[in-house]
Amino acid sequence: MISKTIALKVLNIATATGADFAEIYLEETLSNSISLENGQVEASSSNLSYGAGIRLLNKLQSVYGYTNDISLKGLSALAESLSKSFKGPRAVKVETIKKVRVKDLHPIERPLYEVPTEEKIALLKDASRIIQSHDSRIVRVQTVMMDNFKKVVIFNSNGKEFHDKRARGRMAMIALAAENGKIESTFEGPGAQAGFEFFTRDIDYKAKALEVAKSAIRMLHADECPSGKMPVVIGNGFGGVIFHEACGHPLEATSVAKKLSVFTDKVGQQIANPVVTAIDDGTIPNAWGSGNIDDEGNPTQKNVLIKDGILKQYLVDDFNGRRMGVKGNGATRRQSYKYEPTSRMSNTYIDAGKSTPEEIIAATKFGLYAKSLGGGSVNPSTGDFNFAVNEAYMIRDGKVAEPVKGATLIGNGADILQKIDMVANDLLRAQGMCGSVSGSIPVDVGQPTLRVSEITVGGRGGSING
């Protein structure tokens, strides 16, 4: 997007007043979205995002700015304006820039930006038809396909240049069921860092569409979930959002570096039940949250965060790593050039255990089976989290009983990690978007079916205590 010569000039302007590190992050992203309502194409749009972010570091200070004007003039003006934050003598001079080879871990067969629109529409219409024809109580169906192709170039004052290409696609299926004034909606959103083959070969979108429809109808007739403290068995796949919210965010250097996290200074300590091993792996081929390199240019890694209940490491970016006295571990991410990068999750999951899902249910006399979860949030300083349950059933005498709806699980991350007492062998990952300081980024969450011995369930169906 810009030449080495321009990059060299801009980096040296940026470091003229004492910054010990400078970085230019350039991005061009073409996104497309096609949305269908009840099987008809309602809108199609294209979006070209384009610009550069410049970051200067000086010890523990960071300065960041961005612009759409990536000409020498535009970038120089931004670099100069940012450099005014520092008032020292030059500490770094960039003499040469060398391109670092970036290995492509995510081969793509049919890039979505090349697939004819008609093919995408045909698939979306088919999914819509499957959902709509399942039951006459399904009154609204939305099917959407979003894809983006991002070209990233990074130059930094260590004399390095990185080029990366990232192509992602995701499909959304939403079913809305209504009866007697009651409305329920359900959602599925499979996605990958892959091409059209992901939708036509790797996943069974027809089965997923049918499940969306069935789930909406089931929830229409579900009772309200009772409230109170009880054992909760959390289903595999998107159930991993519990770990993502309750433990993943507080393990990011973003809050650990300033000692603001509940898990600060806990490396080597038992922070979870010994059945828990948790991993963040940005290298999984074609996974939604993967990358070749992170947004500082470091190769992505498989980072074991918790091993048999013991905290092994945090997710670290190079800048926050300065406060912590460690190097980044390939976990630096941002939504776009409009965001200063920081440590974030990629594909985060609790590893498979030894029980079977059936054994876990059978071992639970009374409780909630939270089959599928919605989103949630956490305060990383206190560790308090909440998340919504989309589809749930009561467990009575070791068996899955009647469906219930409207449940929210709340608790504290440090506490919940100790209370995970059974972990099954059916690990599955699911896709989501994670919002935090450096914007909204694609991530996988994941886990096998597992049990939390006690958690507060909020619902409208009266207290279980009477």
């Binding site: 004007d69 409305i183 603001l260 919504a388």
Partner: protein, 442 residues
């Protein structure tokens, strides 16, 4: 004034029947302190151009931030390709213009003119005062300042050209207090466009009081309680409830307010208006389709007076647009509301609390994006606040959930306070007393 004639000429040449360009520019500056040093400083300068055009009777959308020579080609070809993909029979409308616009200059140059040193000095003062306020404050997590200028311009092939510019600034601070093994946090945002109305001591006191008030927070037994919603919480829930007043949601059968026009949708204590022409940071005199905005009642003594319309949804219902067409994701026109406010009542928060024998004051809720379904109105949200006993606040409460249905909640409002507070969402609500809500805790 930028020249957009190339876009219109090329569009015409390629067979686009009508074209609308929407150009937005943003400038923002922010910086923050940690332990007495500036730890971050950021500068934003960006613009984007969104287009929609009618091609063979269908609307196509394109947005770009790459505003070089290639932009007109990109925009025109994408508008055509995207219009071709549409097969739904919606009428394609681009607006020639309203007869009259209530233009006003709400841009305040004082915000940018105030020196960075003065703004920084405010941050140092806030941090020091927060730290010194009480020994139980263990950390000042963040103290930051942001200012933002936004400009939008709408130009279409009917010759309509409208421009609006506004700005605001805000201070943010958040603190931690130790509470035995646990940690409590509190934060506050002060948003304004008047540099003179920021009083540091008041700002600091509110955060400190809130943080210290949380010490010793515990859960409470699960049951139904009368609940007082603090302004921040009432505004968030009202925003979710009124998302169902969007005509698009009603037409697509996904609103709990469908079929409720001119019926009671809230307690008679509630009167709600939308006032886009209020001259604050959110002021808009035209919407993103070029329609003149106007102030209007939404709920009058509990009665739903209107739905919110854009050009397309108004056409479908055979009514006039209410000037609520605003761009959402992908530049597509959706529905959005500006400056929605609840008419304040006469009682103060203390007077409302005095009416409650045993209840809960909810100061914060979490998980609005996941624990609340605006379509069904059902919610179950993590909450914190205070237990009320004998008409007085007795102790702090946390890790509870509050659950219910939005329609029932707003029908159950029995008091509206006199303590309005403008939120970042532009919603403005006082405290509200709700007869009963399900709380789950222990």
């Amino acid at each position: 004034m930028a020249n957009y004639s190339k876009y219109f000429a090329l569009a015409k040449e390629k067979g686009i029947e009508a074209l609308e360009l929407y150009v937005s520019k943003k400038y923002a500056l922010s910086f923050s302190l940690f332990h007495g040093e500036v730890d971050s400083y950021s500068l934003e300068d960006a613009q984007s151009l969104s287009a929609r055009g009618i091609y063979k009777g269908k609307i196509g959308y394109a947005t770009t931030e790459k505003l070089d020579k290639s932009a007109p080609d990109f925009v025109v070809s994408q508008v055509i390709d995207n219009a071709k993909a549409v097969d739904k029979d919606d009428p394609a409308i681009i607006f020639p213009g309203s007869p009259k616009y209530r233009r006003a200059n709400v841009y305040n140059p004082d915000i940018r003119n105030l020196s960075v040193d003065k703004k920084l000095a405010n941050l140092y003062e806030i941090e020091k005062k927060l730290k010194d306020a009480d020994p139980r404050i263990s950390e000042v997590e963040a103290v930051s300042y942001s200012e933002s200028d936004g400009e939008v311009e709408l130009i279409n092939s009917y010759g309509l050209r409208l421009k609006s510019k506004s700005n605001y600034f805000y201070y943010y601070a958040s603190v931690m207090v130790r509470d035995g093994e646990a940690t409590r946090t509190a934060y506050k945002i002060h948003l304004s466009k008047d540099v003179n109305d920021f009083v540091i001591d008041d700002f600091v006191k509110e955060i400190v009081d809130e943080a210290l008030g949380k010490i010793g927070a515990t859960s409470i037994p699960s049951k139904k309680y009368p609940v007082v919603l603090a302004p921040r919480v009432a505004a968030s829930l009202l925003e979710a409830y009124l998302s169902g007043a969007s005509a698009e949601e009603v037409q697509k059968k996904s609103s709990l307010l469908a079929g409720k026009l001119h019926q009671l949708v809230a307690s008679k204590k509630l009167t709600v208006t939308e006032s886009p022409l209020t001259k604050n940071a959110f002021f808009r005199y035209f919407d993103d389709e070029g329609v003149a905005t106007y102030n209007k009642p939404i709920i009058n003594k509990g009665m739903l007076e209107t739905y919110f319309y854009n050009l397309l949804t108004a056409h479908k219902d055979g009514v006039k647009t209410t000037g609520n067409g605003y761009r959402g994701g992908g530049g597509k026109i959706g529905t959005h509301y500006i400056n929605v406010s609840v008419k304040p009542g006469r009682k103060s928060l203390d007077e409302i609390i005095a009416k409650v024998k045993e209840g809960v004051l909810i100061k914060e809720v979490q998980g609005l994006h996941s624990g609340l379904n605006a379509q069904s109105g059902n919610f179950s949200l993590q909450a914190s606040g205070f237990l009320i006993e004998g008409g007085k606040i007795s102790r702090p409460v946390n890790l509870i959930t509050v659950a219910g249905n939005l329609k029932d909640l707003f029908l159950d409002v029995s008091e509206v306070g006199n303590d309005s507070e403008l939120q970042l969402s532009s919603f403005n609500s006082p405290s509200m007393l709700i007869k009963k809500l399900a709380i789950s805790g222990q």
